[in-house]
Subunit: 269 residues, 2 copies
């Protein structure tokens, strides 16, 4: 078998998230179906994704890996992107495919995930052509306040207040970037990067920051919750459709794939 | 009555174009319905648009005017954008409203219309979140060839080859800008600006340029058709969903509104 990295984009609107579920339309389900059409029902195995996005969340920079039979891969590789485009629906695309070492693991070798969250405070709401990936916020937002509040999240913290509690799973994460910009068209865009996120964490962080950004909460309220040991009910999880997974990072040196995967497995344990 | 300028955006996907038609969902129909809800069934009159976009064409910079009862306008003006947002569907928005002189005519006072056409030649097709306003082109396109071919359209010409013939209507138009850029994400964007366009003209120009840009036609073929007196059947009209009306220009000096309108009426006659 040859291990292959797939770079994937999708509009999350019509999907019940990434992970395959019976009776639900999911990105993994659609992708597995396309791979089965090209490689046979048992041809592709071990589809593994970097970021299991929730229902309604989009991606322009999702990464996954899959193992393909050597002969079929060698034959289809040069035309695989076009072939996948022809058999997949237009709301999910495989942008690139490439062979990777066997110890590349899309999930565990990743060094960071980067998300963007788009929100507009325009009085007319979201621009129609961007309404599928932009949250309309009913109150004016202050970008300096958003950035001041965001600063308190930087670095390694226990994000228990912002995570769904899971048995035997740490809620400690390291946020390496969290800042807001206002684009020329007025849209506010948050960029959030961490080694990893627990479920709905980005949307919880954004929800808390928006409460500070529109003046309903003090600027130090979002980071102040980091002392809590449990999920904070005062935090509203921001809607899924503003969120897009834009990039996943991996070690530059392929020799590091296995070491990084081992380290991640130990950290998450 | 007070004349009011409305700046309008829409996602053309769900509309049978701008112009009101019985039994069809159109932008003018939706806007007229919203105005009727806020100003009463006979409150708003003379809704007039700068660019009557075809079915499926989008707008981020459409302009129209309407006459509103003085008293109701004075009362609702400060909150009108939010009120319209609340009663209109999310695929059509009024971005701004403002009082204009009575001789402002959204259609006849306009000095230019500017459109953008988005097309991708990526082997995987259109990025899912932009698939509603980006054409997926199956062959590689060369941006230098597109620009070289586009140059021949600049200036005043008889665009009979690129226009639907209409009784007693000139097909002479003046194109002040027509150029292509390749965005960092690989998308090719044409910007086309003219005093005015005849029906489906931008999409016909783009269709001809794409045939040169992918090498199926010589670079001088699109402009060479300008000698024809009739619509050229060899030109494929590019699909509507790649096209967006992004701006409409008016004289800076309001004193010029009437003069410009008179000039336009004479030119189009």
């Amino acid at each position: 078998m040859t291990r292959v990295r797939l770079d994937v984009s999708y509009d999350g609107t019509g999907f019940s998230g990434w992970a395959a579920q019976p009776e639900r339309r999911t990105v993994a389900g659609v992708l597995a179906e396309a791979l089965a059409r090209l490689f046979g029902p048992d041809g592709a195995s071990g589809l593994t994704v970097a970021g299991r996005t929730d229902a309604g969340v989009h991606a322009t920079g999702q990464v996954c890996h899959v193992d393909l039979p050597d002969e079929a891969w060698a034959r289809l590789a040069p035309t695989l992107v076009r072939r996948l485009a022809a058999v997949m629906p237009p709301d999910a695309r495989v942008r690139a495919v490439r062979e990777v070492p066997d110890d590349f693991d899309a999930r565990f070798s990743a060094t960071f995930r980067r998300y963007e969250y788009r929100v507009t405070d325009a009085p007319y709401g979201a621009e129609p052509l961007r309404r599928h990936d932009t949250l309309a916020w009913p109150r004016p937002l202050d970008v300096d306040t958003l950035n001041a509040a965001a600063k308190g999240f930087l670095g390694e913290h226990d994000f228990a207040a912002y995570c769904k509690r899971k048995e035997n799973a740490t809620t400690i994460r390291a946020i390496s970037r969290l800042d807001w910009r206002r684009d020329p068209d007025g849209t506010l865009v948050a960029t959030v990067q961490a080694d990893a996120f627990c479920q709905a964490m980005v949307r919880s962080l954004v929800g808390a920051l928006l409460a500070a950004g529109d003046g309903r909460r003090p600027v130090d309220w979002p980071a102040g919750l980091l002392s809590r040991r449990e999920r904070e009910s005062g935090v509203t999880v921001a809607p899924a459709h503003g969120l897009t997974l834009v990039a996943v990072g991996y070690p530059e040196d392929p020799e590091e794939y296995a070491r990084r995967a081992e380290l991640t497995r130990r950290l998450r344990g």
